[in-house]
Symmetry: D2
Subunit: 374 residues, 4 copies
């Protein structure tokens, strides 16, 4: 259905293009564009965004990097068996999956790879530029949805792998979104360079479950003047993310983001820890339990517990599509540098408020600003 490319089509280049999130995004974009499913979970399809000049779903063209080789149509079948994609969907959008698969290039560095960082960046940038030219795209947004990488040691002179891809986006003149807790463009040098080049970027770490809840519950306690003593949490998940985050160094980056919302909203860091457990049999489904011990009037001890059971890829994919459209339009509208108006989507945003309701208000303002720029 995307056969006739129009001038103005927009590229979406996934770092981690064969992962569950990217596969769900490609399949879901096609399904929603074809009217097979309502756009549940896509904020940009709600009325306040109608006049923002966002690229249509049918104008998005997908490609990306990945070190894995499993073809997207097969990945979609796997996600169907796992209950992530509804039955019949993979077959219905097989054409779009195959099209995107053709535009996936090898990521890196792979084992035994002797290329220098600069060679890798040049290679990645060239892949992205070729994709943009080949499809005659108005612009391409690079989005990191790869597995979380370990937090780099402070004294490690080498850039994180995620930063190589961010540098490639920069070199290719593309806006950049980091949906993971990895470093990406979150270094002073890269952040400055994006701004200097007039490129917008947004991040980091998509807010899809426990932290989403925390960003509405923590403000409630503050507004009601209730004293949160301890906020403890455990996450169980089994997909690739579960395995990646079982590495304490990788979990550290994620947990820093999770705790930021509490500190920013409550004004102090409550007691309590956050655990991320790899439970392979849960597959892409995750469960997050939170236990909040708080004091009420006259020191009475009370407790709130929450249990969130969701499908990680299905939570992330519509937000990734939202971000692709919003950041592409921001680029078109001439915005550059970090976009604090997109804090609604992230655990660890580039400034802006921490409470979800305020982030939503900021997002609506951002959407209006995009519309005004038409």
């Amino acid at each position: 259905m995307l056969e006739e490319r129009r001038v103005g089509d927009v590229g979406v280049w996934f770092v981690g293009a064969r992962g569950s999130v990217a596969t769900t995004a490609v399949a879901g974009c096609a399904a929603v564009a074809a009217g097979l499913h309502p756009p549940v979970g896509m904020v940009t399809e709600t009325p306040p965004f109608a006049a923002s000049g966002l690229p249509s779903l049918s104008s998005l063209v997908f490609g990306g990097h990945d070190t894995a080789t499993c073809p997207l149509p097969k990945r979609a079948e796997e996600l169907t068996a796992a209950g992530v994609l509804p039955h019949g969907l993979a077959a219905a959008v097989r054409g779009e999956l195959t099209a995107a698969d053709i535009d996936i290039r090898p990521g890196g560095p792979s084992a035994g790879d002797t290329r220098t960082d600069d060679e890798l960046v040049a290679r990645f940038a060239s892949d992205i530029t070729d994709f943009t030219h080949r499809h005659g795209l108005a612009r391409t947004v690079v989005i990191n949805v790869a597995s979380t990488e370990p937090t780099p040691a402070p004294d490690d002179p080498r850039p994180a792998p995620s930063s190589l891809y961010a540098a490639a986006a920069l070199r290719a003149g593309c806006p950049y979104v980091n949906f993971t807790p990895s470093t990406g463009a979150r270094t002073p040098a890269l952040a400055d360079a994006f701004a200097a080049r007039g490129l917008p970027h947004a991040g980091r770490d998509g807010k899809t479950g426990q932290t989403l809840l925390r960003s509405v519950l923590a403000p409630m306690f503050t507004q009601r003047a209730l004293a949160v003593r301890a906020w403890s949490g455990t996450n169980l998940l089994g997909g690739g993310d579960g395995a990646a985050l079982a590495d304490p160094a990788a979990a550290a980056a994620k947990n820093a983001g999770k705790e930021r919302v509490l500190t920013d909203t409550l004004g102090h860091a409550p007691e309590g820890e956050v655990h991320i457990d790899d439970v392979p049999s849960l597959g892409d489904w995750k469960t997050a339990w939170d236990h909040v011990a708080f004091d009420g009037f006259l020191g009475s001890r009370m407790v709130l517990q929450t249990i969130w059971q969701g499908c990680d890829s299905a939570l992330a994919a519509p937000l990734v599509l939202d971000l692709a459209r919003l950041v592409a339009r921001a680029h078109e509208a001439g915005l550059s540098g970090p976009l604090p108006g997109l804090g609604f989507y992230f655990k660890d945003p580039d400034g802006g408020p921490a409470a979800l309701s305020e982030q939503y208000t900021a997002l609506l303002s951002f959407a209006a600003r995009l519309g005004d720029a038409r």
Copy 2:
């Protein structure tokens, strides 16, 4: 510590003055005023309210109506044994409890009472006026914290008991707050009369647990474009409220309020029921379990569950003190009629937004307006 009344003291007249909420409010007000406890749970003690001209806690004088006869100091001991009040508190504020106890008058109608409704209203109004004069108070706010009454039948010509007290407040020229789901001033005739008499009023049904949570969680689903299919809930509580709400007619009023927040916020009424169970052994502690079944992207089925364990009186009392101060100041500032700026406190408010964050913004505006009126 309240021995020397100053010109400008404010009366707080509780309908249900010997109940757990009123007893906790009287004891807690004295304890916080004396610096024995921090004002946890009192929104009016946070910085945004500092310039609103609210009466100080130490200027509040308590009295009220009740059909029960147990003295307040004894009620406070009972609440201590039940874990609602901290140990030592009842003894520390015994003077204030005894002072309030002296100002409690018999409620009604009692069994075999042959007085007409008008005679009852006249009696109640006279009790309130006497209290105001006896203490030389600048004004008295009447607050309904009595047990929930059954929803009146649509064709019942007699006013609900709670409306008799509201009529008495009106006749005595007092602002009125309805912290319960009972009818109170929520009749066209009474609402008009309050406005005509220049008296502010606020209600109804304090938002202290399950509905408080719903008022932050439902907007989250809406803002994220997630499709809520079913929202089910069960409340367990054992105090007088548990027994009162075990009556289906009484529960009907409460549940209507609880569901209103969902309908107003989600834009539709999801599947699901709300149960309120009387579990005497829980005493004043309540547990609310909520189960939200929602659809994500591409029809994926997800679930959020919440468990709220709190002490009903400790949740309600600081809000009651907040309302007494805010409505007294509104009266002083010349406001009259319903106060939609106070929707933050109620399940079933007199207009205004349904989402807690917007209600909080409205409350801050209201507080600023009170300050401007000085």
Copy 3:
């Protein structure tokens, strides 16, 4: 794969043969017999039952009554879409589903049916006998898996519909199992007649979720001398059972069984209620929340909460297959009347212990006895 019937094949006649439980049982029996799935959930496939002389899964022949008309292969497709059956299974066992479908006869009485109760019983018995003869079966077990019927009024002279089917089983000389809370054979006259005819029967109300949990947790409290004060529960489910049990009269029968395990095990009826809510969007998936308030040493107040999320048909179907095999073998072994050794499977059993561990021990004894009778 079941084409060549051997002497000794056993019939399984479902009352409610087109329902989710029966469809899952037929499909699952074929799948397990063919080695497509391990026999998870089938207790009779564990080692202690190997020597009991039970009929093999491949020797079971299915038929039944139903007032619905949707063909079994189509019902299996519906259950696949609902996530109850795994993908591909319906196609893999289409032959067995079609074979069973051919042996389903109209249930009743239908609307406008003018047949007397005796005519209905005769018709049903004739259907069962024809089935047994047609397939040359050694015996046929009749199993009620129909929707729960309302509790009959004590003074209602007419037998419950479920009792008509039980009477038909009796007339056809078949053992009978009641997996529902309906009356079935649980009347003095029917119970006596089954025993007099030398027919075994078992019931009632399969124990698949909340009550299963209660039958292990309540003994724990008793063994530890902990004092259970209140046991409250809410069930959410959406399949046909959800709608049937939304009728308070139907729920009454089910709840009586649920509470029996507590009373029998704890020695008293704790405070607390049980709710069964119809939540259509949950489909065949059910959620049961239980809240147990108990006292520990020196009156300390403690709480246990459980949340059980399961698929009703997938929980019931393997137990139904277990019961078919066990009761068929009991009949072969000459046992008659109620079988208290099967209390492991029921909420409201025909005698025997209430604790699951003791019921399991009794079941193992029963299995050994079946083996000894060979």
Copy 4:
């Protein structure tokens, strides 16, 4: 009330005598003996134990070792403020607390202590023997209720501190109970020596919450032939135990016991981890969340979650009193070596079954055997 010691009084010597468990046990024993509270939580006060010849509660005399110095009456006040002991209890049993306090001796080794292990053992043994003689006791049971010590490294030649106390019990000719996960008598040399000396001993690690639940739930899954895939858990607690177990080395010992029940009952180790978080604001109250992912029929994915909220000391103290009585009587009856009949009480018992129901049966047999030995 214990002033007149009778021949036959039994000593209970706590290692960790000023801790929450010991303080609760001393206070609770006195309260129950005096009829101030029913013996909730004490299994030995139920009918099956009436003929076992157990020492009466009023015949128990308490003493012990501790490195802390806070007097027991003050500890009891602290536990009252924390909601562990009911109000008024500490005052009512002040005499018994003071009496026990007099019999507490310094533990060790303390910082800078230059005594050899043998000198410490000799000192501890002498303290115990003096206590036994001073009170003319028939025997003294030594019970470890001290904070959990780190798991010793396999190649560490020094005995664990808990083993020094076990060695002292041995030298003093006393039966020994280890209610903690520390090593205690669980070394080949000590175990042999206890048996050789004719002394009974029991352990280890009291089963009071999450593992208690697991010991009834895991057998349920096995008996129902359901396939447990993952069993994950998080414990939040704040008392001394919370801080001790925040040390990964200490938690390792505890977690090994917790997982043993799953492995022993399920026949395999499921996926999943166990976390123990120190949350100081919870004090002595602990919360344990468990998440069990299991497969049902045809691979359907289901989940059970449990939340246990209890007071650690109130759960442990009655079991400690049970064990003191049972082991004292076992010593009197001439039993020696490990007592597998007491597996009911322990996470990591000395043999015997793993399922609670079977452990309860074993305990009843043990109780009967004690009675027969009279």
